[in-house]
Symmetry: C2
Subunit: 299 residues, 2 copies
């Protein structure tokens, strides 16, 4: 079966752009008047889907992937969850690789239920359906292998993959992640587990279906992890609004300029705010190109 | 404002029963013929809500709380999420304290979106609505304070609380959680953070709104954590189907028999399978009483 990690890598090669756009869309990101009167979750959901579709239309030739942060859809309840489904489906239809940023985690059969929801299928009598189909889903591996293996099993349905939190981009990530366990930091222990979980699902390009979230805001640690985990693809948040720039990212890539996909959300979703008179979708496109060039220049 | 941790404790006192029933309802738990033909997510969702309501009706006098595992609702897509809402609403209506077992986690504004969804409200123009209202939500604190503080802020809307994963009940939890950081294990470091986060929201009964998940399958560690974290209430999974018994739990309680709520899911949901000829709701009631007595005998 074709692995999504290979599709992601080829998407990056085809566009020359190792980025994904974070569709963490919130009402405050939309230009005045775009949404009309928003009086219910259904109104909010409709406005967000409309905005997302316009962005996907503008970006699908130049970026290979989107990351859809499910928290911003859950906050709009059941209609928000439908907006998440519709956004993911539209992005896939337009050829983008879809990363569901859900940071799900549990154990055993419960982890299997999440895995079915995002990467696999839910059995229903004599058939099976996909609940929130994505190509990748982010996970939190604090619970260990019991929590992760069900995702690997479900990933066999469509060749999907996961990104497990290793070194997160936020300041207080260090409270636990940077503490020492013997001669390794907690995030290195986690990285080594992630590498092990991926051993049996390495794709054609040398990277496994089990990736790691490695924040751009810690460039030295990112570079060290790149060397430590040669078969682990990185999802790199923290570019743009969180402060990291193109040159901070160099170390996250391998010697071929591969091995990482860099996310930006707010800086693209709200690019129109810094480009007066430019349509929001065009502004997002402009910012995506600027980001691509900034990152490629850093290599 | 009335804190939910106080309501939970008083519910336990009033029923003399420090347990919660896990509504991790799956189609396989339902008696043959209960659901009719299930051909869609909507069919599955309807059957599960019907089952849950019957269980809530049977149990609401004898247990103080339910834990609703959202993974089993997410696997049924958008209709499943509506079933989650309906289940939580019905349980609240019947006076039960509702714990959304969602293990959500992220940073900053994104964590805030999850917090709004479960504990707070989502602003919509000049009003605000609750997406998936619960009294407590479980969280994963691998990302540190940035990920937790937004939940504490949102909890001020209705006085809700959180339970953060500290020492989980599954075998592979030890892969990370039991490693040594200086003279503390990872789960002790996490426990100490949880205790600190709860310092400013301690209720009338001496326990804070920031609880900890502590698995019943590790009785010695549970007892040591009880002494270490005197203001932290424990949500204790692993009783019943996962193998722990009443006497394994003694150490999780304080000297007044308070300080923990013990969850059982499968053993109650499927109690009818071991009580031939007994109606499923009556069988669940019988098993809830047996569990209560087993735990109270262990004290």
């Amino acid at each position: 079966m074709r692995l999504m990690i290979d599709r992601l890598i080829e998407g990056i090669q085809n566009t020359g752009n190792p980025t994904c756009v974070g569709l963490d869309t919130q009402l405050g990101h939309l230009p005045e008047g775009f949404a009309g009167k928003v009086d219910s979750f259904a109104d909010a959901a409709a406005a967000i889907v409309k905005y997302n579709k316009a962005l996907v239309d503008a970006l699908c030739g130049v970026v290979p992937s989107v990351k859809v942060q499910i928290a911003y859809y859950e906050m709009y309840g059941v209609p928000g969850m439908q907006a998440f489904v519709d956004t993911c489906a539209y992005a896939k239809e337009k050829g983008l690789v879809v990363i569901a940023d859900a940071k799900r985690n549990d154990i055993g059969a419960t982890s299997g239920a999440y895995a079915s929801a995002f990467l696999g299928e839910t059995p229903l009598g004599d058939k099976a359906l996909s609940a929130f189909p994505a190509d990748f889903v982010t996970v939190n591996a604090y619970l260990g292998s019991d929590g992760i293996l069900p995702f690997l099993k479900a990933s066999q349905v469509r060749g999907g993959g996961i990104f497990a939190l290793v070194k997160t981009s936020n300041p207080s990530g260090v409270e636990l992640q940077d503490l020492m366990i013997g001669d390794r930091r907690v995030y290195e222990v986690m990285g080594d587990l992630v590498s092990k979980w991926g051993e049996d699902c390495i794709g054609e390009h040398g990277y496994s279906s089990v990736g790691a979230v490695v924040g751009a805001t810690y460039p030295e640690q990112g570079a060290a992890l790149r060397l430590r985990l040669p078969h682990t693809f990185f999802l790199v948040p923290g570019y743009g609004a969180q402060g990291a720039t193109g040159k901070d990212l160099r170390g996250c890539f391998d010697k071929n300029g591969m091995g990482a996909v860099v996310n930006a959300s707010r800086s693209i979703l709200t690019a129109w705010k810094k480009q007066p008179g430019v349509d929001f979708a065009q502004a997002a496109y402009n910012e995506a190109i600027r980001m691509r060039d900034d990152i490629m220049e850093g290599m």
